[in-house]
C-alpha cells in the first residue's frame, strides 16, 4: 500500500543499500530541504487563493476567477508579479537589518515544520521536546518584525513593530498555557506521543470542558500571534497603512506575506495535533466497524483536513470581526485570557490526576 510512511522507508532502504551511512544522511537532508521548500511554496499559493476565495464567499462576491481554471493560477500570477517588481530600499534605512528582517521572519517559520507529523510516521524530526520546540522557535519571528519596523526608518513601521512586539509577547503566554493544558493530559512533549495518546478519541472530546476552553483560548492566541484580524494591529490598514512592512516591496514583502500564511498553517497544524489528534482518524470508543472504516481514509487526508478546517476558522474571524484597539487587546490578554487559562490548566491537572476525563 502506498503511504508516506512506506515511501520514507523505501527511500531509506534504497539509500542505505547503496551508500555509506554519512552519505545517506546528506542525501536525505537535501531531499528534506527541497521537500520543505516545495511545501512552503505550494502552501503559500494554496493559502493565498484559499483566503481570497473565503473572503469572496463571506463578502457575497466571486473572488479571483479569471486566471487558470476557477482562478486557481491567480496566486501564481501574483507571485510572478512580485518577483518581477523592484525591491525598493529606503535611503535612511538600516540596509543590513532591512534586508535581514524578512528572513528572520521566514526562518523560524521553516524551523517549526520539523516536529510536525504530516501523516502516520511521516515527519522531519520527531524530537522529544517537539511542542516546546514549536512554542520557543515561534517566538523568534517577533524579532524579525521588530527588526523590519526599526530598520525601515518609517514612523508607521516603527509603530506597527512596537505594537506587534507587545502583542506577540503577551499572547504567547495564554497560547503556551493552553498548549500545556493538553500536555498534562498526555504527559509527553513528543508530537507523535501526543497523537498516539488520542487513538481512542481526540482530546477536545475526551478532555471535555477544560479542553474546549483551552481550544478556544488557543485559537484566539494564535490569531493574535500571527497578526491576523481582529488582532491585526501591527498592520492595521486604516491606522498605520501597512504597519511594519510599509516600506517593503517586491520579494521582500512577499516573504513577510508568505511567512504570515506559513505561520497560520503551522499554528493550525499544531492545534490540529493537540486538540484533534493530528493524523489520527476519528474513532468512537468501541464501535470497531466504524473505526475500521475511518482507518481506510489516509492519515495525510485526516491531518490536512483538520488543519485546513482550522485555517478556515481563522479566515472566518478575519472577514467577520472589526479590529480591537491596542489597550483593549492587551486587556483581553492580561485581564481575561491569561487568568482563565491558568485556572483552566489547574482544573485540567486535577482532571488528569483523578482521571476525570474520558
Amino acid at each position: 500500500m502506498i503511504s508516506f510512511e512506506n515511501i520514507v522507508k523505501w527511500i531509506q532502504a534504497f539509500l542505505s543499500a547503496h551508500l555509506p551511512h554519512i552519505w545517506v544522511l546528506a542525501v536525505e537532508a537535501v531531499i528534506i530541504i527541497i521537500a520543505a521548500i516545495a511545501l512552503f511554496a505550494i502552501l503559500g499559493l494554496v493559502l493565498v487563493i484559499m483566503e481570497r476565495r473565503v473572503a469572496a464567499f463571506m463578502q457575497i462576491r466571486f473572488g479571483p476567477n479569471r486566471v487558470g481554471p476557477w482562478g486557481l493560477l491567480q496566486s501564481t500570477a501574483d507571485t510572478i508579479k512580485l518577483i518581477m517588481k523592484e525591491s525598493i530600499v529606503p535611503d535612511n534605512s538600516d540596509k543590513f537589518l532591512f534586508n535581514l528582517a524578512p528572513f528572520m521572519v521566514m526562518i523560524p517559520a521553516m524551523l517549526i515544520l520539523a516536529p510536525i507529523n504530516f501523516a502516520k510516521h511521516f515527519f522531519i524530526w520527531d524530537l522529544n521536546i517537539g511542542i516546546l520546540f514549536v512554542s520557543s522557535i515561534s517566538s523568534i519571528s517577533v524579532i524579525g518584525i521588530l527588526m523590519g519596523g526599526w530598520a525601515s526608518s518609517n514612523k508607521y513601521s516603527l509603530h506597527g513593530a512596537m505594537r506587534s512586539g507587545a502583542q506577540i509577547v503577551s499572547y504567547e503566554l495564554s497560547g503556551g498555557l493552553s498548549i500545556l493544558t493538553i500536555i498534562v493530559l498526555c504527559g509527553s512533549l513528543k508530537v507523535s506521543d501526543i497523537i498516539t495518546a488520542q487513538e481512542t478519541g481526540w482530546w477536545i472530546f475526551r478532555g471535555h470542558i477544560p479542553a474546549i476552553i483551552a481550544f478556544v483560548i488557543y485559537m484566539i492566541a494564535v490569531t493574535a500571534e500571527t497578526n491576523r484580524a481582529p488582532f491585526d494591529l501591527a498592520e492595521a490598514e486604516s491606522e498605520l497603512t501597512a504597519g511594519f512592512h510599509t516600506e517593503y516591496s517586491g520579494m521582500r514583502f512577499a516573504l513577510f506575506f508568505l511567512a504570515e500564511y506559513i505561520n497560520i498553517f503551522i499554528v493550525c497544524a499544531v492545534g490540529a495535533t493537540l486538540f484533534f489528534g493530528g493524523w489520527m482518524p476519528f474513532h468512537i470508543g468501541t464501535w470497531h466497524a466504524f473505526n475500521h472504516i475511518m482507518d481506510f481514509i489516509p492519515s495525510s487526508i485526516w491531518f490536512f483536513g483538520k488543519t485546513f478546517f482550522l485555517i478556515f476558522l481563522i479566515m472566518w474571524f478575519r472577514w467577520t470581526f472589526p479590529r480591537l484597539r491596542i489597550d483593549q487587546l492587551l486587556n483581553l490578554e492580561w485581564k481575561y485570557l491569561m487568568p482563565i487559562s491558568m485556572v483552566n490548566l489547574l482544573v485540567m491537572t486535577v482532571c488528569a490526576i483523578y482521571h476525570l476525563h474520558f
Binding site: 462576491r61 516603527l158 490598514e237 472577514w319
Partner: protein, 385 residues
C-alpha cells in the same frame, strides 16, 4: 529618522503643530494618501506613544475653487458644480441651489416636482448612510460590511441611473422643478424592489456590526462631543443630533413638502461615536418611512414650472439651507442683478464637523481617532470645495 528640528528647518511653511512641538514629540502625518481619510485629507498628529496629544487637519489638497467657478456660471449652470461638492448627497446639494433660485425669483414649484424632489433626497440620504456604514466599518478593520452595504446601494444607483442618467453625480434638480419625469418604472422599482430589500437586510447590519462586542467597545465612550461643544463648533446633522442638538433643517425650516410628511428627528444624548452611529442607522429607517408616505401618492401634473430661458436674480442677498446626509448645507448668493452670481458661498457641513476632531480625540488612542473620524462621516470634497 528625521529629527523634529530638521523638519522645521527645511520647511518654509511651518504648520503650527511643528512650531509648537517639543523635541520629544512624535509627529505622524495621516494622509493625504491614507486609507482612513477616505480622500485627500492631511492630519498632522502629535503622539505620545499610542496616545494622541494633538490633531491638526490640513486642507486644500482637493480645492477646486468652486465658489469662484460659480461666479462665472449662470444660475442654471452652477447647480451642476454642486453635485461634485458632497458627491454622496448630490441630489440634496442640487436641491438647495434650485430652492435658492426659486426663492429669489418667487417661482411656484408644481407639487409633483416637490414630491419627486423629496423622494430623491431621501433616497440619496439612504445611499449616503449606507456607504458611510460600510466605510466606517472598514475603518474599524471589518471589510465585509462594505460589500453588504454596496449590495443594497447598487440597486439604488441603478434606480438613479434610470431616472437621472448618472450613478453618482446626479444632476436632476433644476430651478422650477426636476429635469424630467421619473422613469416609468421608478415607483415600481422603489416600492417592490428597493424598500423590501433594504428592510429585509437591515437586521444583518445590526447583527454584523451594531451588536458586535468588539465594535461596541471600539465606539462606546470614544470621541465624546458634548452638546455645548457641538453648538460652539458649529456641528450639524447626525453629528450634532448625537449630542442632543436640535438641528434638523427639515424640521426647523421645512422646504418643499417636508412639513407635510411625518417623521421623527432622531436624537441621542451620549455624544460619543456610538451615538453618532445609532443616529445614522435610525435615520435610514426614518428616510424609509418618508419615502413610503410619498412614493404612492405622487400627484399628477407638471414636473417643472415654466421659467424664463435666462434667469436673472434680482439685486440682493439670498440664503438657502437644506439638510444633507452630513448636516446643514447653506448657500449664500450675492446678486448684482446679472445672469451670474456676484459672490457665492457654501456653508458645508463637513468643514464644521471636522473642526471638532481635535477636541474629541485629544488624549485618546490612534484607533479612537480612526473611529471618531469614521463616525463624523467626512467627505473630503465637501470640506475642501
Amino acid at each position: 529618522m528625521y529629527h523634529i528640528n530638521e523638519i522645521v528647518k527645511n520647511n518654509t511653511l511651518i504648520p503650527s503643530i511643528l512650531a509648537e512641538a517639543d523635541a520629544n514629540d512624535y509627529i505622524i502625518n495621516i494622509g493625504p494618501q491614507h486609507p482612513a481619510t477616505h480622500g485627500v485629507l492631511n492630519l498632522l498628529i502629535t503622539l505620545n506613544g499610542e496616545t494622541i496629544k494633538k490633531v491638526e487637519p490640513h486642507l486644500g489638497f482637493i480645492h477646486r475653487s468652486m465658489e469662484k467657478m460659480c461666479e462665472s456660471l449662470s444660475y442654471r449652470q452652477f447647480i451642476y458644480v454642486t453635485s461634485r461638492m458632497d458627491y454622496l448627497s448630490a441630489h440634496i446639494n442640487n436641491h438647495a441651489c434650485a430652492l435658492l433660485v426659486e426663492k429669489a425669483l418667487q417661482i411656484e414649484v408644481p407639487e409633483r416636482a416637490q414630491y419627486i424632489r423629496v423622494i430623491m433626497d431621501e433616497l440619496t440620504r439612504i445611499a449616503s448612510h449606507l456607504l458611510w456604514w460600510g466605510a466606517m466599518a472598514m475603518d474599524m478593520g471589518a471589510f465585509t460590511p462594505y460589500f453588504y452595504a454596496f449590495r443594497e446601494r447598487e440597486l439604488l444607483t441603478e434606480i438613479m441611473e434610470d431616472t437621472c442618467g448618472a450613478r453618482l453625480t446626479m444632476n436632476y434638480m433644476v430651478p422650477g422643478g426636476v429635469m424630467q419625469d421619473p422613469h416609468e418604472k421608478f415607483q415600481h422599482r422603489v416600492t417592490t424592489e428597493f424598500l423590501p430589500l433594504l428592510k429585509s437586510k437591515l437586521h444583518e447590519y445590526e447583527e454584523l456590526v451594531t451588536d458586535n462586542i468588539i465594535f461596541q467597545n471600539r465606539v462606546k465612550d470614544v470621541g465624546i462631543l458634548s452638546k455645548e461643544d457641538a453648538i460652539s463648533y458649529g456641528c450639524s446633522g447626525p453629528t450634532a443630533r448625537a449630542s442632543g442638538v436640535e438641528c434638523d433643517i427639515r424640521k426647523l425650516y421645512p422646504y418643499d413638502i417636508y412639513n407635510k410628511v411625518e417623521f421623527n428627528e432622531v436624537f441621542e444624548t451620549a455624544g460619543d461615536s456610538m451615538a453618532r452611529y445609532l443616529v445614522r442607522m435610525k435615520e435610514i429607517k426614518e428616510s424609509v418611512s418618508i419615502i413610503e408616505q410619498l412614493i404612492d401618492n405622487i400627484p399628477e401634473g407638471d414636473f417643472q414650472a415654466k421659467t424664463k430661458a435666462v434667469l436673472k436674480l434680482p439685486k440682493g442677498e439670498f440664503y438657502q439651507r437644506v439638510e444633507t446626509a452630513r448636516g446643514e448645507l447653506g448657500i449664500f448668493v450675492v446678486s448684482e442683478g446679472g445672469t451670474t452670481p456676484y459672490r457665492i458661498k457654501f456653508r458645508s457641513p463637513g468643514f464644521s464637523n471636522l473642526s471638532c476632531l481635535d477636541h474629541i480625540t485629544r488624549g485618546s488612542k490612534i484607533g479612537d481617532l480612526v473611529a471618531s473620524m469614521g463616525t463624523l462621516d467626512l467627505v473630503i470634497p465637501d470640506i475642501d470645495r
